[in-house]
């Protein structure tokens, strides 16, 4: 299947956001991280495990009638740091955005260590994971200092 073919699996959207080059199989995690649930009124299209020259396989997400903000997109750095994002207006790409990995990932996921102080859901301070290495990605909890299991973080998204 060609790249063009991939895009045609779902129709072009008039207005909204297209997130391309999501690692294969991670689209559902991306939706979860963006807080996009089934009960929202915007149409959402999802293509999973399609061939990609660059990545071997990838997922694509199209969210209609909603322009994701840079802040929302930066949350994706944990699962899809190389995703490319386009804001669509009147069927054309109006803006291209990049996902930035900030110094600290705040209130995106809770620490995966079972004895961390943040395990108590009633504690009010933000969940803070500090980026200690970028490639490969390494995060440590600001509080307990434990290195995070990046795969496991998807299960502890807030």
């Amino acid at each position: 299947m060609s790249q063009e073919g991939n895009m045609r699996r779902v129709t072009a959207i008039k207005n909204g956001t297209v997130i391309d080059h999501v690692p294969a199989g991670k689209a559902l995690s991306v939706l979860k991280m963006l807080g996009i649930e089934g009960d929202m009124s915007n149409p959402v299209s999802l293509v999973m495990n399609v061939p990609s020259k660059k990545m071997g396989g990838k997922d694509i997400i199209k969210v209609e009638d909603r322009e994701l903000t840079q802040n929302e997109l930066d949350r994706l750095a944990l699962v899809a740091p190389d995703a490319s994002v386009a804001i669509i207006r009147a069927y054309s790409v109006a803006e291209k955005l990049e996902i930035n990995l900030t110094e600290e990932v705040v209130n995106v996921a809770r620490c995966t260590f079972s004895n961390c102080i943040t395990i108590n859901p009633r504690e009010p301070l933000p969940h803070r994971l500090v980026v200690t290495k970028r490639d490969p990605l390494e995060l440590r909890c600001r509080y307990c200092g434990k290195t995070q299991d990046i795969e496991g973080l998807v299960d502890s998204l807030l």
Binding site: C116, I117, T118, E123, C144, T147
Partner: protein, 316 residues
């Protein structure tokens, strides 16, 4: 607010300066001199899990310097049992005190408290995490015995997996150029994460399960307690623990100035026959908790320890 949460909060120069202050405060810690540097200050002792030495030595340190102490008391009868968050507890105690010493069963609790508070927090142990005030008194004890921290051969022995004192201490020793040997049963080895961290800082780390073979080359042997509950059955515990017991006769070939330390309480790992040898240093080490914590509280509260305390203090 600045606090002491891990040893990374201190530079080597700050460590040296705090140990120098502690040295000068020794007569005050011994009760030979009255020097109320912290008069009017209140320490909040928040121990969410049992502690004898750490809690008492903090209390003694503050009182020796003329300050006062309020205690959280038994967690079972405090508002913690009613489900109060750590954040709320800290907000309250923050209003009552000028500085807080804290121990908590959850890892990261000290940093969390530090981020919640306006007064400085001293971490007295958070889960299996850090225990920097213990490290400071350990460094003080080592420097007192050897006159330096640099280039010493230090053997850390026993339960290196769960013993938080050895985690903080090994990081600090490496920073001062010590050679560190970890002697432990296989199941209680130093966590890989820590060994990797130490190696990243350029340390050469030796790991062994043979403690006795390390004795003759050591300047310091730091023993820790092997806890029964870490083992699936009594036999397995007895087998492992037996290899980590020091007796006076094991020390025949040791260097004359070698010291044996232990964070206490000990169970069987140091035989009472060692107590009367020149190597035993664990009771002085426990006493040094007072002087190290006096110095740390002065530092965190911005109170200068006078160069010549004889001029300022009153001999008792």
């Amino acid at each position: 607010m600045p606090g002491l949460i891990t040893m990374d909060d201190l530079t080597n120069e700050e460590i040296t300066s705090i140990l120098d202050d502690a040295e000068r405060l020794l007569p005050v810690a011994r009760g030979e001199m009255y020097l109320p540097l912290l008069q009017g200050r209140i320490l909040g002792n928040l121990f969410f899990e049992p502690s004898t030495r750490t809690r008492m030595s903090f209390e003694t340190a503050m009182k020796r310097l003329g300050g006062d102490v309020v205690n959280l008391g038994d967690v079972k009868t405090s508002s913690v049992v009613k489900g109060e968050t750590l954040f709320d507890t800290i907000q309250m105690v923050d209003g009552y005190t000028d500085i807080i010493a804290m121990r908590h069963p959850r890892q990261g609790a000290a940093q969390y408290a530090c981020d919640s508070a306006r007064v400085p927090i001293l971490n007295g142990g958070d889960g299996a995490g850090h225990h920097p005030t213990q490290t400071m008194l350990d460094l003080f004890t080592i420097r007192q015995a050897h006159g330096t921290l640099e280039g010493l051969n230090v053997v850390l022995a026993g339960d290196l997996r769960y013993g938080r004192t050895v985690h903080s201490l090994s990081h600090a020793l490496i920073r001062f150029g010590c050679n560190v040997t970890f002697a432990s049963p296989d199941s209680l080895r130093m966590p890989e994460e820590i060994v990797a961290d130490l190696k990243e800082h350029g340390a050469e780390v030796v790991e062994t399960d043979d403690l006795l073979a390390q004795i003759n080359n050591a300047d310091v042997i730091y023993m820790t307690r092997i806890q029964k509950e870490r083992f699936p059955d009594e036999d397995e515990y007895a087998k492992v623990a037996g290899a980590y017991k020091l007796q006076a006769s094991d020390l025949d070939g040791a260097k004359a100035e070698m010291i044996i330390m232990h964070p206490l309480p000990r169970v069987d790992e140091i035989h009472p026959s060692v107590d009367s040898t020149r190597h035993a240093r664990y009771f002085e080490q426990a006493f040094n908790g007072v002087v190290a914590r006096m110095s740390l509280m002065c530092w965190l509260l911005g109170v200068t320890v006078p160069e010549d305390i004889n001029e300022k203090g009153v001999i008792l």
